[in-house]
């Protein structure tokens, strides 16, 4: 996987998390993983089509998800992962990818996204067609959000 199409996702994640969850994120150690990947308690899956194909999966703990959601909902404490909190988390995924896709477009990769799907559970395991995953952990004071990127260039 080229850095050229990974960096926009990392950059977008920084910007969006800072803006909506109002916390700074620092990049942890990148790792390469092989499908299937083990998810966290809250997982947002978004498909990419177009010049790049694959999946992006955001994984975070329920506590981290709730704290992000609460900030997005004007600090109206969301004590459980209700429909509102879920919509907030999906929206965050949407914003990160929407932002990344714009940057990719500027670099000549035109992509489309599927609407985010939310997977919630303790033992979520995701298998994808593309076997290699780049795992990007972002640390914030509200907890960790891991971005799993499995993308390949569509060479026509």
């Amino acid at each position: 996987m080229k850095a050229e199409f990974i960096n926009p996702f990392v950059g977008a994640a920084y910007d969006v998390i800072k803006k909506v969850a109002k916390v700074e994120a620092t990049k942890g150690e990148l790792a390469l993983a092989t499908s299937p990947i083990r998810g966290d308690e809250v997982n947002v899956v978004i498909g990419v089509t177009g010049d790049l194909t694959g999946q992006i999966i955001f994984c975070l703990s329920e506590a981290t998800a709730l704290s992000f959601a609460s900030k997005m909902l004007m600090n109206l404490a969301t004590d459980s992962l209700n429909e509102l909190a879920k919509s907030a988390i999906c929206e965050m995924g949407n914003m990160i990818l929407g932002n990344a896709v714009t940057t990719l477009g500027e670099r000549g990769y035109f992509c489309n996204l599927t609407p985010p799907a939310l997977l919630i559970g303790k033992e979520v395991i995701v298998s994808t067609q593309i076997l290699k995953f780049l795992v990007i952990p972002l640390e914030t004071k509200e907890g960790r959000i891991t971005i799993n990127v499995a993308l390949q260039e569509n060479l026509e």
Binding site: G50, M72, L73, M74, L76, E83, L84, S87, A88, E91, N94, M95, G98, N99, V101, T102, G105, G108, F110, C111, N112, L113, P115, P116
Partner: protein
């Protein structure tokens, strides 16, 4: 078919001719393609200035709106006039029967229209004339109260009662001197004392002629949940539930409307003000109100990730991040020829998202430009 600049393209438009890559003759997108945001990016990537578009089929909703908007504008005006009549005649007890019938009819109209199109009606609250603000305020508070009542799952009968109570909540103002309630600028301590009597005056007017809830709303809409209100300093559940609803609607409406002595606040500022004084309101009610209004309050201007700017006209339950907008500016910041309705909760728009709410000074500038450019658009 008409020609349109590439930066005015929005997803959903349909190409009327092939779009060719300049100097190559290669077809980038064939005729009759429905554009997605991705395709628009692709087009703007090349050196293409204009493309041909099929005039859009108006959606049923848009057609419906064209028919409804003038009717609603009329209803609003009529409502204000009726309320003025009812309220100013209320002193004359002989006419109370006639007033009741008029009121019921009016609230019926309001309910019917809120059901059809709450956002249109709420936008009407921005049409302002301050000489009759007391009556216009009554109609607006009634609309906002009904919207809150709907979120609470009120039955039609309950909504009706709430609507009437809200229409009459300030009726006691009439007994204070006209100079007081029409006055611009701050009140003297004596005048303030007089104004603070309006809940009691109102309750006296209404007692015996109106259901208990209506009397209670007039008497208690300035009571605050933490006991800091007036006239009695009632606290928590001692305050009538509908009075708590109207209290919230009353404050919100007062904030977002224009008064002779101050500019209106932006919806964002109004929400902030209410949140800052949250002990004054029933926390459960406040939560319901804020969850629909807080993220992107109705009436606020927002900018999309594409750069387009529009106004929030409807927020649906559980989807506070995906409101319905009316777009006024294209991605380059130019005014559109025609405002466009955009439902962010539609699947086809999932790539779009709201980047930010315009700041108060920007909001004011944009609101004025929009009002000048589209005087008939609500």
């Amino acid at each position: 078919m008409y020609r349109i600049k590439v930066d005015q393209l929005t997803p959903g438009m349909v190409l009327a001719q092939d779009v060719l890559i300049p100097r190559t003759g290669v077809t980038l997108l064939p005729s009759s393609t429905t554009l997605t945001m991705d395709m628009i990016r692709r087009i703007s990537h090349f050196d293409i200035e204009e493309v041909y578009i099929t005039p859009p089929e108006k959606s049923d909703r848009e057609k419906n709106e064209e028919i409804l908007a003038p009717v609603m504008a009329e209803t609003h005006e009529k409502s204000v006039a009726v309320v003025e009549k009812v309220i100013t005649n209320f002193d004359n007890r002989d006419q109370s029967g006639y007033s009741q019938a008029l009121l019921d009819g009016l609230v019926g109209d309001l309910l019917e229209q809120v059901k059809m199109d709450a956002d249109l009606l709420l936008n009407l609250t921005h049409m302002k004339s301050y000489d009759n603000y007391l009556f216009s305020h009554a109609v607006n508070v009634s609309i906002i109260s009904i919207l809150i009542g709907e979120q609470l799952g009120y039955s039609k009968e309950e909504l009706n009662l709430l609507g009437v109570a809200a229409l009459l909540h300030d009726i006691g103002m009439l007994k204070t001197s006209v100079e007081t309630w029409k006055k611009s600028g701050t009140l003297t301590p004596t005048e303030l004392q007089e104004v603070r009597k309006h809940p009691e005056y109102g309750a006296q007017f209404l007692a015996g002629n109106m259901p208990e809830d209506v009397v209670a709303v007039a008497a208690q809409h300035h009571e605050r949940y933490d006991g800091s209100g007036y006239p009695k300093g009632l606290k928590g559940s001692a305050i009538n539930y509908k009075a708590r609803i109207v209290a919230l609607a009353d404050v919100y409406e007062a904030c977002i409307s224009e008064r002779l002595y101050r500019e209106r606040l932006t919806p964002q500022e109004a929400i902030r003000l209410i949140v800052g004084d949250q002990n004054g309101f029933d926390p459960q009610l406040l939560k319901i109100f804020l969850l629909t209004m807080a993220v992107y309050p109705i009436g606020s201007f927002v900018q999309l990730n594409t750069g387009e700017v529009g106004r929030v006209i409807r927020v649906s339950k559980n989807q506070p991040f995906r409101p319905v907008l009316t777009l006024y500016y294209d991605r380059k910041g130019e005014l559109l020829r025609q405002p466009v309705r955009l439902d962010l909760s539609a699947d086809s728009n999932h790539l779009l998202y709201i980047k930010e709410t315009l700041s108060a000074p920007e909001h004011k500038k944009v609101a004025q430009q929009v009002a000048e450019a589209f005087p008939n658009h609500i």
